[in-house]
Symmetry: D2
Subunit: 424 residues, 4 copies
């Protein structure tokens, strides 16, 4: 982990500048009628979950280039997640993927407790074949033509719930790769009927205090059609299932040019926003680091979320879901958690009354000025101060590098094998 | 109109080849177990409406280049529509746009009857300012912040219903241009609430035997957000309104790469497919001639429609909606009506039992072969024979040109003014 | 125009906050080793041209909703441009469009001089029919099949050069709407050969100290193919023509998801970047206000431009090109000019040595941190101070509204007619 | 392989229908003034190469679901390719991928000769790490910041040439995965300079009778920028290198909505079209079966190719490049080879003189009618007859299934392991 003295040293080095910046920002915000302390308190309370698989190096169908000290199993992964939370104080929960992360519940709970972590939504896996699930998902899982295969997929999801209950999780996220690669390969309607029938069986066994999140995606791994292709279909699912079913929005799962924040607004309005898989994308489901490509888009999503704060039943889940192909995953996840908090802080700066006034007056210039004024504020001092005050790092990447964590774990974790073998 | 002797001459010239082609195709289809006569009967019964505005030359924000003999008013337009139907026998109904096509109902009915035409869905216009509707729609219509403007837009739609009732129409199509050009310009949720409230008032006054079609569109004329942006929102509207409300699908109103046929399948499954605005597109709402860019996509849409034939309550409306910028609109509309019939005929050739068998067996190769076998059949002889037997032209464009219709009307209709004046 | 006392009042109201913000920012930048004065000097020297047509309300093919006090002619337009420059001190040049802006050169020069304005690149118009150019451009201009029509288009461009010479302009921008709406409508190769032949004739008559800018665009007004569809074709044109020919980049003229900054980098590398038409877009050529949708993208473009500063021959032209459909065009253009300067300032904050170091070390995390650190800095105080010191407004929109300019001109300029008439 | 008697049986079953269809088509084409024999001769002479890696089951970053009897090594792959050619008579050459297909040249030549196969373009691999190339390509290959890594990549390409020379290949195809995942990760210009420098070294060692094909791709595996991102950059490369360098066009490597046939036309016009990687796509580089999604688009590409026949220096290479995730790869490749031939046949039916006439007259209706008339002709009898006359199968999939080839090889080739392990 990160030695406290090294963290202290690193913070000390950054503290004078932070103090000056924080003070100046406080004065500036005060001139705008905003209390910096209130924003800092909001940021401090804002958390985002980390996916267990995110701490391993990602890859593409062409290749995977592993980094040093890759986690060997869920306990290594939890340790890495612990580092992220220790430095950012933003990621107290980990989202597990079954069967990848299977382990005795007591051991998982103990390890998590040791690291100050808890468990977020459970993720099932019916997009890959696994020895534990002998029937193949090559042609689908919950929507498969074969009833036995569908039953196996349902069973697997129920097992995920069971595991999650033992860990204190309160939600199941269902993402399937089902779809087709050829027009005509499946009847699009019957395929969806089979899916609905199967997911209803999962929903029927959902504990009373759990939520079910379904996730839509336009394409990949299927390349002609996807069963849960967009928010329209996702909404229909959540509606068919019932009050504990909600839609999950992954920022990279949409058609080009889609106005994602409007989808978020619609789902909020109709009571079906379950939460987010945060990441960024330029082309498709690129799974790039959050806000690395389009930070204003993320801000606009958070503008909807902040506007909905306090609305009855509004309680979205937040998780990062990224593929770290060329960076140290811990660094990427720390920065991404900070970007989520940044977007939240920026959206919290919007003067809602002024914005509403501009909207009612059809004064688009005043409206855009209000939005941009909030967005261009540099809230880094607020985020850093919130981290520091909770025991984290002013500059998490700096502290992490100074601590030499990666080299330390590389010394005990054997080098993992480069991947990619002819999938082109 | 088209003199009968000229039509007869033209048909005579094409008849020998048609007979030979039809006979050969009949023999070929018989080998595939398909009765050519049954397909021909289906095609003969298949009709598609023509939009009144489609017979004028279209344009872009940059310019409009009018053709010869542009229709001056709705009666000229009806005459042009009459030509289209006379030659194709595929377009017996015209869809009117109010206020563009306002005229005494009796006169409209008389003219239509004379031409063998009826009236399809009514279209309201709240995307342009009109002297009859003094409040401006610059900032929206049914979703406007101002209650009086919304009321005006509702009134206008009710007037369209009233006009339509006098003409025998049975549906109202509502497309609005409402949206925003800046993030923050409007609250996306409140804007949609206002829309829902207004459209409910229209729905409340819909005659018992009418249907209300709402149309979604991703963008244009608004370029950041559109109130009814996609089928997800459109479905919510139809659901909120009730059993007489349905979603209209325009083939050019979707995000890039969208699987449109899947949307059609979903709307059919959930009982909300209202109908189509047929056209084609490569980039956006290009309003190109039907099937001119992606004929296989149109076939796939019709594959869903043919598969749904006989399903209770399944009764979609069909209309062309195109912008003819560089062609004689009559020629474009004739060809497009034929393309719609062609797609219908091709989809009717799919061996549904064989396709289902391939699907159940997860035999994607057999499935794609069945789809492509149907698609690559040249059904032109079927279409031509169906036209001929109903009194139309074997080759409508040929007969139309031979008749010199355009030159004749150009002699009596003054040249219209070129458009475009600085909208860049 | 804007009374000096009102401007002074408005500046006085904003000055205390500006001083405090500027001082705090200076201290912050000093901690990062950056001299705020140097950045301010760069910003003060950075100018962007305004298009004459931009001060009128824009529209779409569906409608145009004119605002109050629309400019009636080029002299009104120049007056509006003068206001923009007076308040922002960022837009000393106006780009004319012929024939829209035709007027005696002496009058134009006198009016411009009075307003402290000059003339930027000339724009020809062969995408609309005009009485002065009797042959129609319905089927193309410089690439038309008809030699006489091509000759007319060449002549018109030569006239634009002539007019520009009398005004002190030094560049001609050629954008054509030529293309096709149907596969097969034209032979794509012969069409481009005709274009090249025609544009060579224009180039041959280009004054020695002029530059020729050609502009590419993916689609609209043509919807199947465009003659100059992308930067690849645009580069071929500039290469074929010679050393005075360069490529113009409009931010909205690209395919979805295109990496525009990489195109900018390539054109710089191969010596063919002519300049920019700045605006923003979400879907197509939306012509939205600069940086209103994707401010980070604009920053990335400027990151390439700042990196190329000092490179021999690097001298791109900058112009705004937007369609102001729902705002006061003067306000939009002021904000947009400021956004261009903002992007320039932000890109100037990037520590090039640190960035290069991260790049050489393949340290993507350090690289993205450096980019984001620059981007999230709030440089508004620098822009405002630069404006103030040059005699402009701290807050141009505030001063403009306080001055009541729009109401004043509305009193003397008659209301223009709402547009849109059936182009759907 | 495929027993001759089984092939004969299968052909016999299909022969009567084929004869009747061929005769009817011949009569129909004769009425259109087209000699069916001439088209058949063109088709018979038209060949397309098969990629060695295409006969294995493909996959995505999420999973790979292997089929029965997967080829274990290049000799199994060649055997599978031999089946494809035996039945289609369309694929006499195989394109190898190094190091995947490394084996003694004499053995490869002997095996190929036995199967009636030859060797097409060689493909290098610098997008994966390989034991033979110890330096990692994680951060790039030919454009890597490290000179030694670039040198290794150059060396590898030279080795591919050497191997190819021993096999009778005449071309090297260079596709790299180089790019970035973050804005700022690399300097876009320096990265391209390094690439150019490296590829020049390869080009310098290209045998006199070889061609170098470079391939562009918009994204994947890099997701912010790609070094060779589009045809513009690809053209610059080919131009920089010299007369033996050409651009390869993969149908799935473009931005959404791109007009690919226009790119083909431009590359032909400027003498730089190297050839194709055929496949189809709906969303990105989906690598779906050729013409399974957009058959008219493929026809339009071939319309350009047929129009260029006979042009000096015009000699494009043709290869399939697909990922067969849910089908038997042999079946997919057979159908795809047939689709390429179909598109060629259809484009050969276009009456060039009539099309040119319509173009010169700006008669878009006549032009689109000519294009569609060719496209909708069912040329399957021509393709089948050409296959039969060359000793292939009338219906290759039918004959292949009847022969039970897959079951036979599955009996001797052990089941390959399912892939996918955490790359999400």
């Amino acid at each position: 982990m990160i030695p406290q003295d090294i963290l202290a040293q690193d913070n000390e080095a950054h503290l004078p500048a932070l103090k000056a910046d924080y003070e100046a920002l406080g004065a500036h915000l005060a001139r705008r009628g905003i209390d910096i302390g209130a924003i800092k308190a909001k940021v401090a309370a804002y958390k985002v979950a980390v996916p267990s698989w995110g701490v391993g190096t990602g890859g593409t169908r062409f290749a995977r280039f592993p980094g040093e000290g890759e986690p060997r199993h869920i306990f290594d992964k939890l340790e890495d997640c612990g580092v992220i939370h220790a430095l950012t104080r933003a990621t107290p929960a980990v989202s597990l993927h079954i069967p990848w992360d299977k382990a005795p519940a007591a051991d998982l709970r103990a390890k998590a407790e040791e690291l100050g972590l808890g468990f977020d939504a459970m993720n099932s896996n019916t997009f890959q074949d696994q020895p534990q699930q002998p029937l193949s998902y090559k042609y689908g899982s919950l929507s498969h033509t074969d009833a036995a295969t569908r039953a196996q997929a349902v069973e697997h999801n129920l097992e995920c719930i069971e595991i999650g209950q033992a860990l204190g999780s309160k939600a199941l996220t269902v993402w399937i790769g089902d779809g087709t690669n050829f027009p005509g390969q499946q009847d699009l309607t019957r395929q969806f009927e089979r899916y609905l029938d199967a997911v209803r069986q999962i929903y029927a066994r959902l504990p009373a205090d759990w939520r079910l999140f379904t996730e839509h995606k336009m394409y990949e791994p299927a390349f002609y059609s996807t069963v849960v292709q967009d928010w329209g279909t996702n909404y229909l699912i959540a509606k068919e299932l019932g009050d504990k079913a909600f839609c999950l929005v992954d920022l990279g799962h949409h058609a080009p040019n889609t106005n994602i924040e409007q989808i978020v607004a619609r789902l909020i309005q109709f009571g079906k926003l379950g939460g987010f898989h945060f990441n960024d994308s330029k082309y498709g489901d690129d799974d790039l680091d959050t806000a690395s490509i389009a930070p204003y888009r993320l801000f606009l999503v958070f503008n909807e979320l902040v506007a909905a704060e306090g609305k009855p039943g509004f309680d979205p889940a937040h998780m990062l879901d990224q593929s770290h192909n060329v960076t140290d995953p811990i660094e990427s996840l720390m920065l991404s958690a900070m970007e989520v908090q940044r977007a939240y802080a920026l959206a919290s700066l919007v003067d809602r009354a002024a914005l509403t006034g501009a909207q009612e007056a059809n004064d688009a210039i005043a409206a855009t000025q209000e939005m941009k004024r909030a967005f261009r504020t540099d809230v880094e001092p607020i985020l850093a101060m919130a981290r520091l005050e909770q025991g984290g790092a002013i500059d998490p990447v700096s502290a992490y590098r100074r601590a030499g964590y990666r080299a330390k774990v590389a010394a005990v974790r054997p080098r993992s094998v480069a991947g990619g073998g002819g999938i082109v």
